[in-house]
């Protein structure tokens, strides 16, 4: 079976062989998903067994990550996973309208998020709870979206974390525009430059907005890192339904670098994202990163993955768990002892308990919220509707309706 590289780079003058390089559907699937391995070009610094892999290109980007820093990344991932599981459970108990699990994607999100500086801006999709955590937006600020009591109201400037975007791919263009603004304001060109990162999934790569974002960013040299979390499934549709080429390879067609990183390796995600942001800061952006990972839970709590994928696949990916490999590495190298792991587990439990208390006691928004902030400037039509409805509600004052 030929590799994807051979399909895209047929031997010159190979004659009929070039035609033969056309992949069969089976080859396409194998190349895209490379089973669960990610293929030969996967950047990895920590194996699933927790062994450190040397990389001449990327080791310099994580030279500051000592045992303490690695313990912090471990803590990030454990807390975020615990909050994710608690939120999933709360949805099942009717406390949340829906939940979008991030289980399995902790390394991609924490690694890339921790690569950012405060002056950078991140544009999330709707699963980026881990990135939110790295930007100082905690679960209490996010969870109103999923309890359906707000659409997300954190201070995006303070956190450098744009509001969630639910329409697939819209945020890729929005981020590109923001990055163009950074460039127009002269905020790129040296080590102190600013950059933008935008998160989207493998399914989003089929959207026109993502394609247009690639075109625009290339034309304007926008300092934007496109961070595609390829978690293999767009609800029920596999990656091969989106592309016949590994996603990171698409970048070449737009004229900027694309790289595939092990999305379950927090160290590699940190290193590769730092490198990509560095390219942007210096005015060499954009860059596409494909974080090769796996969504270990459903797309959302309305989804049923048992209808479209085999449990074998999940079992195989469990062996690549992003948290377990850091734990193994720390334990084996003496970077952390049992007392540390127990302490983090206890912290995660109390974090989850606090989140649960918060959600259970969360008030519903007042009806006035329906009418507020539709416009920055007052609208007489809307003002009349607000007055009329509130006056209607006042008619019920004191009654037990």
């Amino acid at each position: 079976m030929s590799s994807p590289e051979q399909w895209t780079h047929p031997e010159p003058g190979a004659g009929p062989a070039a035609t033969a390089a056309e992949p069969t559907p089976e080859q396409v699937i194998a190349g895209l998903r490379a089973t669960t391995e990610g293929g030969a070009e996967l950047t990895q610094l920590l194996t699933p067994e927790g062994e450190r892999v040397a990389s001449a290109q990327f080791d310099p980007y994580v030279s500051d990550i000592d045992d303490e820093a690695l313990r912090n990344l471990y803590r990030d991932m454990v807390l975020v996973r615990r909050a994710d599981r608690e939120s999933n459970a709360m949805q099942r108990q009717g406390q949340l309208g829906i939940w979008v699990p991030l289980l399995g994607q902790e390394a991609a999100q924490i690694g890339s998020g921790r690569a950012l500086r405060p002056s950078d801006m991140a544009f999330p999709s709707y699963r980026e709870h881990g990135v939110a955590w790295t930007r100082g937006v905690d679960f209490r600020e996010l969870i109103g979206i999923f309890r359906c009591s707000d659409h997300g109201g954190w201070d995006f400037k303070h956190h450098g974390f744009h509001p969630y975007t639910i329409v697939i791919g819209n945020q890729v263009l929005n981020a590109t525009g923001y990055a163009m603004g950074q460039k127009f304001e002269g905020k790129v060109g040296d080590d102190n430059g600013e950059a933008t990162i935008v998160y989207f999934g493998d399914g989003a790569t089929s959207q026109g907005d993502v394609h247009e974002g690639f075109v625009w960013s290339a034309v304007y040299d926008a300092p934007v890192v496109f961070f595609c979390q390829n978690n293999q499934w767009a609800i029920s549709e596999p990656t091969e339904r989106q592309s016949r080429l590994p996603l990171y390879q698409r970048a070449r067609g737009y004229g900027f670098p694309g790289i595939r990183v092990d999305g379950n390796d927090v160290l590699a995600c940190l290193a590769v994202t730092r490198w990509a942001l560095d390219e942007c800061r210096h005015g060499n952006g954009p860059v596409l990163i494909e974080a090769f990972t796996y969504r270990m839970d459903a797309h959302t709590t309305t989804d049923d993955p048992t209808r479209y994928r085999l449990s074998d696949e999940l079992e195989e990916w469990k062996l690549k768990d992003p948290i377990e490999r850091v734990r193994a590495h720390l334990a084996r190298g003496g970077g952390a002892d049992q007392e540390f792991f127990d302490k983090i587990d206890a912290e995660a439990d109390s974090f989850a308990a606090e989140l649960r208390d918060f959600v259970f006691n969360m008030p519903d928004p007042p009806p006035e919220r329906i009418f507020s902030n539709v416009y920055a400037e007052p609208s007489p039509v809307l003002e009349a509707q607000r007055r009329e409805y509130l006056s209607y509600l006042e008619g019920f004052a004191g009654s037990e309706h």
Binding site: F123, D150, H151, G152, G153, W154, D155, F156, H162, P163, T165, V167, N170, V172, L173, N174, A175, T176, G177, Y178, A179, M180, G181, Q182, F184, E185, G186, G208, D209, E212, G213, V215, W216, V219, S372, N373, V374, Y375, A376, E377, S379, P380, V381, L382
Partner: protein, 342 residues
């Protein structure tokens, strides 16, 4: 980075200038760009060419390629990147070449432009202007003559305005750029260069409020309400009717969302009759909304049902048939007669 550019207004010799609608918009863009370096213009062909209608003529020469962007050809890209630029603190003015090409950008307009402020409880402002040449009468091929404004007026979070004369063209553009809300400016393309509509634009005058409709001709037999290119049709009809002794009041809506119908109600209470005129198809349109609200507010004053003169509920026809399709003076007068005969 590009050095700051010293801009010069073409022919800007004084506060009062005699301008066509097209030149008035150009001057408004130029003045806004001079006043605020965060104002940028983006769209297809808006730079060297000056736009397909030459509305942005000369702006790139004076303000540079970083403030007047000849973009790649994708409307979602124009509007989607404008959202990001607005979030960054810019005030983007997008040009869509023709209204029939706005639909690839519809998703960004409806999903992001209109909703970001609401979604963030006021945390994100979206001061974007989207300029849309619209309407028929230029003998163009398909997709170049439509009137899709009702689709946008239906979207909460957007402001939709339309000018019918050079003074409004100037000030509405200025006011739209200064607004912290997203504004779609529907420009009557067939009137851009109309010499008959040249007007004295006083750039130092206090402008009319953006969101106020206006009585542009007084009368007492019936009320005509219109916007954009149809205002001229109504004014011409009123002049013709006057020769026959019928006095028609004409109201220019100016803003399509939110609608300022108080002057319309006041007028209908006096005349008892309303004819709403628009090039758009009639079903579920702005004229539907006007008819509904007038019957709600003026029920006991109406001497006849609200009537409409509109395009038909068809796609825009081949241009050889547009004289049949577009509301014209005769169809308006015919409808006035129907109303008066009730």
């Amino acid at each position: 980075m590009a050095a700051p550019v010293k801009a010069k207004a073409d022919g800007a010799t004084g506060a009062v200038q005699n301008l066509t609608i097209g030149k008035a918009i150009n001057l408004a863009l130029r003045t806004a760009m001079e006043a605020n370096d965060k104002v940028i213009v983006l769209g297809e062909d808006v730079g060297k060419l000056g736009g397909v209608f030459r509305i942005t003529d000369g702006l790139q020469k004076d303000f540079g390629e970083q403030r007047v962007l000849d973009t790649p050809l994708a409307e979602s890209g124009i509007i989607g990147t404008a959202v990001g630029l607005a979030v960054r603190g810019f005030r983007p003015v997008c040009e869509i070449q023709f209204e029939g090409f706005i639909f690839p950008g519809f998703d960004q307009i409806v999903s992001q432009v209109a909703k970001l402020h609401y979604r963030t409880q006021g945390g994100v402002k979206v001061p974007i202007v989207i300029r849309v040449p619209f309407g028929g009468g230029i003998g163009a091929v398909e997709h170049h003559s439509e009137s899709p404004e009702s689709l946008f007026a239906h979207v909460a979070g957007l402001k939709v305005v339309s000018c019918s004369n050079a003074v409004d063209a100037y000030w509405m553009t200025r006011q739209a750029i200064e607004s912290d809300d997203p504004v779609l400016l529907f420009e009557p393309k067939r009137l851009y260069h109309s010499g008959n509509l040249r007007a004295e634009v006083d750039t130092t005058a206090k402008p009319a409020p953006l969101h106020a409709s206006r009585v542009v001709r007084s009368g007492d037999a019936a009320t005509l309400v219109a916007y954009g290119p149809s205002v001229k049709v109504c004014l011409d009809a009123a002049t013709a009717a006057q020769e026959e002794g019928t006095s028609l009041e004409v109201i220019d809506l100016r803003t399509l969302s939110p609608l300022d119908l108080d002057p319309v109600f006041e007028s209908v209470r006096r005349t008892g009759r309303l004819i709403a005129v628009s090039e758009a198809p009639s079903e579920s349109s702005l004229t539907s909304e006007i008819a509904m609200r007038v019957q709600q507010e003026c029920f006991y004053s109406l001497e006849a049902p609200v009537l409409r003169v509109t395009g038909f509920d068809t796609p825009y026809p081949p241009a050889k048939l547009e004289e049949d399709y577009l509301p014209d003076l005769d169809r308006v007068l015919h409808t006035v007669d129907r109303s008066l005969a009730w």
